[in-house]
Chain length 187, copies 2
DNA sequence: CTTTAAACTAAACGATAGTTTAGTTATTTA
DNA sequence: TAAATAACTAAACTATCGTTTAGTTTAAAG
């Protein structure tokens, strides 16, 4: 019975996501969000509750983006070679935006503490677990290995992803490529 | 010709370091520092200039701590096996404090952006480069390999350290051990 | 058209951020 | 022992934080 929103929530969240991605959670202020999202504080609060709410939706938006890469890996039947390709695509993905700010999920995992919003912690652990399962499924496509080995290899690749994410913030493309090659040396 | 300080700067910086280590730079406020360091804000500012100054000295204090582990590696002549031992000692080191907050250097590298204090960025890159050189020297102790390979292997190990640092915040001891074993599988 | 309620603007909120200052206490040294 | 000066305490400072509220505009529904 009343006025319609003049903005699309998915659109403004994408802009918020980019700001959080670039600056991290703490450094990003509501004023910065207001400016970047192009809407008033009132609108932000009525749509997302509070700053944590904006951040939560931003991470969901981010994981949705990353999930496009991940679905490609899910669909592939190239075993560990597919994972290697995913690693290369991942470093390209982190360069999609002009700033070299690693991976929002990893950045957040490194930034937040125990007191952090439970919903955010949940999204992070769930996404991390999902990535691990995708890796594990790929590994099962290759020569027969027992489940314990697969689990360990998947963990290894997952932690390697954390290193790669940090590395994209600091190291050169050449160093990143070299890192990936070393991970998959015996594959 | 006047009163003496009632605190030792090295001692209060160690306390500040623990707070930054636990909470990160942004989350740690001057009030928290005041309480933890046990001295007045005036004293903090007269000793360290500003919050950035406290943080800078905290990182220097941290790298000094880490350098004790590193000197052990420098002194060792066990080649890559020595590096592996260092990795294991490193995860123990991150558990020295009751909170599992990874490595302060890595945390900071993941938190700060372009606009960060140049002195802090300098300390981080210098320390990172030093670790890489120690790794490289160890690698030279082993079977003859050319300099390019050594450089690449050192980069690989350095990035692996970043992954391990993040991982200590999230993963179990078992998973960390498994990760290290995988890194050095073919050694 | 009029009613009605949601979405807008913009200003204000209290709390806390990092930093500085005024005034007091203490100790060295001449 | 007195003068000088650095370190102390505690309060105030301005700016900005995240959040809320009061008042206006807009458009859907009766």
């Amino acid at each position: 019975m009343a006025r319609r929103k003049e903005y699309i929530e998915e659109e403004v969240i994408e802009k918020a996501m980019n700001l959080f991605w670039k600056n991290g959670y703490e450094t990003t202020s509501m004023q910065m969000l207001e400016k970047e999202m192009g809407i008033n504080k009132f609108s932000i609060y009525s749509s997302f509750g509070n700053k944590n709410g904006v951040f939560l939706e931003s991470i969901k938006c981010y994981t949705k983006k990353l999930n496009r890469l991940l679905s490609k890996l899910k669909a592939s039947a190239n075993g560990i070679v597919g994972i290697k390709e995913y690693f290369y695509e991942f470093i390209e993905f982190t360069k999609e935006t002009e700033f070299g700010k690693g991976c929002l999920v990893t950045n957040t995992a490194n930034e937040i503490g125990e007191g952090a919003d439970e919903r955010i912690k949940k999204v992070l652990t769930e996404f991390t677990e999902e990535v691990k399962q995708v890796f594990a499924n790929c590994l099962r496509q290759d020569a027969s290995t027992n489940e314990e080995t697969i689990e360990q290899q998947a963990d290894f690749l997952l932690i390697s992803m954390f290193g790669l994410s940090s590395a994209t913030r600091i190291f050169t493309k050449k160093q990143l490529d070299n890192y990936i090659e070393n991970i998959f040396k015996n594959s």
